[in-house]
Amino acid sequence: MALDDRKSDFTFVGTRPNRPDGLDKVTGRAKFGADAYAPGMLHGAILRSPHAHARIVKIDASKAEAHKDVKAVVTRADFADVPFKPGLEGEFYNVLENVMAGEKALYDGHAVAAVAATSALAARDALKLIEVEYEVLPHVTDVDKAMAPDAPVIREGAADYSVPEGMHPNVVRYHESGHGDLEAGFAEADLIIEDSFVTEATHQGYIEPHACLAILGNDGKGELWCTTQGHWIAQKTCAALLGIETSQLRVTASEIGGGFGGKTTVFIEPVALALSRKANRPVKLVMTRSEVFRATGPTSSASMDVKIGMKKDGTISAAQGIFRLQGGAFPGAPGDMTAMCAFAPYNLTNVKQIGYDVMANRPKQAAYRAPGAPMGAFAVESVIDELCNKLGLDPVEVRLKNAAHEGTKASYGPTYERIGLVETLEAAKAHPHYSAPLKPGQGRGISCGFWFNHGGETSVSLALSEDGSAQVMVGTPDIGGSRASMALMAAEVLGIPYENIRVTIADTATLGYNDVSHGSRVTYASGLATIKAARHAVEKLCERAAAKWGIPVDAVKWENGCAVPSGPNAGDFDPMPLADITADMGRTGGPISGHFEATPEGAGVSFGTHIVDAEVDPETGKTSVTRYTVIQDAGKAIHPTYVEGQYQGGAAQGIGWALNEEYIYGEDGRLQNSIFLDYRIPVASDLPMIDTVIVEVPNPGHPFGVRGVGETGIVPPLAAIANAVSNAAGVRMKRLPMSPPRILAALKDNG
């Protein structure tokens, strides 16, 4: 994007007003995915495989179909024929195969059939009438075992061009990058540490299960209401899977009860549409929590080897990482992202990273907040911490010494523009937390983290009303208060009060395409588009003022919500407020709107540094996090309170991932812990207050300097907590989660 008219002094941006949708959300009025009803509505339910890997020999639904309460039964045959392609090229095929099994059930919980019936209870009961004959096949759920020569093959031919010859067919993508001379770099090192690390799969754990209400006729026209991070991708994908035209399916995003990447794709939506088409009635489909855990998109599990050489003065002379990510029974595990992010915080002369995308009999992984990056950071930052301990160096000083900055050649190749890592480290060093004394039994951990951030296709429309208020239509669902930041940015440009702006999340029929609310892109990309749309409206406002004054339009400028003559030569006119122009806009040229459509390509990478204190009970291995500080570069914080909220939420999710959250599969390949009782996300009493420091190093790719803040906050916590726990326990923890049995076992092994 053009970097014209960069702003640095603000009226509205940086203030902390109440969010526009606050009232709806504290009164129970806000409509989330499961809160929609339609006349004549049926309820759907999905039959799921109890086997981790099985050939579907036969599905007999005749008893279910014959039941008086049942109005439709669908199987794979009720979906379009989508061609198979290797790697990520066959993504529609992969999604279809995931939402409804074809020849094989590929994981415990894989959908095999679905029913629509007159009530939710009737639908659940009807599932028991469907008889499925399975031929159970050998399965594998562990990433290292899935790569072994004798591992069961999940799907032949799924590997793309990148996989070296001789690898197991379960390895479907391969990434290798880096620069310099590793051998020479390691030779310069005074100390080399090489170690292996493991992280288990975790789930985004959004509190709202997937839910939708679908209406589709056999004329190919449909309506879909669903909880999603991106309704255009839902529209495009559902249309492809059902064999209808994209534009004939109107998708409306409900309020969304959390996503964190997990609602960037579809699971039940195509199934509800297929049921609706067959029954010719609206169908509501809501997942149970157990279905959410078994059959949506958890993150990858990972097995990693990291080797780093350091000189006595703390300089990293060489670094190498191998990252194997398991992404379920489909290509897509972000081993490439893990590899590219792992060493990105550091200015390295010699670095090499390898990433593997490996299939196993688990649900198809989905994005989870900086997908792939937290695992790599865990391995790399743990080794750096160990090097600091062994060499007697301060962990912040060592990171500062090696920190990437503007002009550094990134570990993934290009040269960094202006970035803010050094600023976060300086802030960490200066923070009272870093110098606070520790109690016996406590340890402190530090970690840096990196994430790319994303732009993506974006459309925004802004319309002015006669009374001088404005409505902004954006296409990115509001997951965490983005309506407030959009309104602030629009207010900044238009110069009208924040309260006079209404921000609506438009449906797919009323706005052009918008990429998903992911990649920390909403405040960046929809924000940029809002600013540009508002500027577009301002141009028109200036034209109208110029016409009224009878002066050329370039003699008019916009200031504080008014058209004013641009200088003494332009004429002597009183400022003309926006509302005076809009009052008669219908008679002075028609309605005034602003639009912006583009794919902004200047998201600006982001860095953070976290400081954690943890206490370990040496007799039970139980950890408590006693103090936590997040420091992260926001570029420019539009609504600082919601920026803090992103930092705190990322840290809390990281604490869960580090300490207790994990997918536990039994020998039988079935998920053992598919409820919140046993999938242990942090509860209120587990956590301390989470301090935040917002660093602002403006992003050159955004008119107000915004960098996305949603994802980076989950990159450092795994390592920061592991470092704190390892320092408290006196033993290096190399496997996540650091559950009490693992810590106690490590303490015992350590004597």
């Binding site: 061009y161 993934y412 290009p414 951030n453 892109r521 390509e601």
Partner: protein, 81 residues
């Protein structure tokens, strides 16, 4: 001419070359030129790539300008959560 730096995993598709020189004024031209120079690069490009121009990562756009003398890196397509 633009020097395009590839990630090392692509060397097997370019006869060992990690830097490819092509004539291109936009990101789209650059991708087409890469395939002309090394037809095997079609597969990674189809699978999805991003292009970093002077450090700015262009995730998808084919119309972004590439100024003369820019530093250009081909990267795997970025995905977010």
């Amino acid at each position: 001419m633009v020097e395009v730096h590839l990630w090392s995993g692509l060397r097997s598709l370019t006869g060992g070359q990690q830097v490819v020189e092509v004539e291109a004024k936009t990101t789209g031209e650059l991708l087409r030129a890469l395939v002309r120079a090394h037809p095997q690069l079609q597969a990674p490009i189809d699978a999805g790539v991003s292009i970093a121009v002077d450090g700015r990562v262009i995730a998808t756009g084919l119309t972004e300008p590439i100024p003369e003398g820019s530093e250009v890196y081909l990267m795997q397509r970025l995905r977010g959560g």
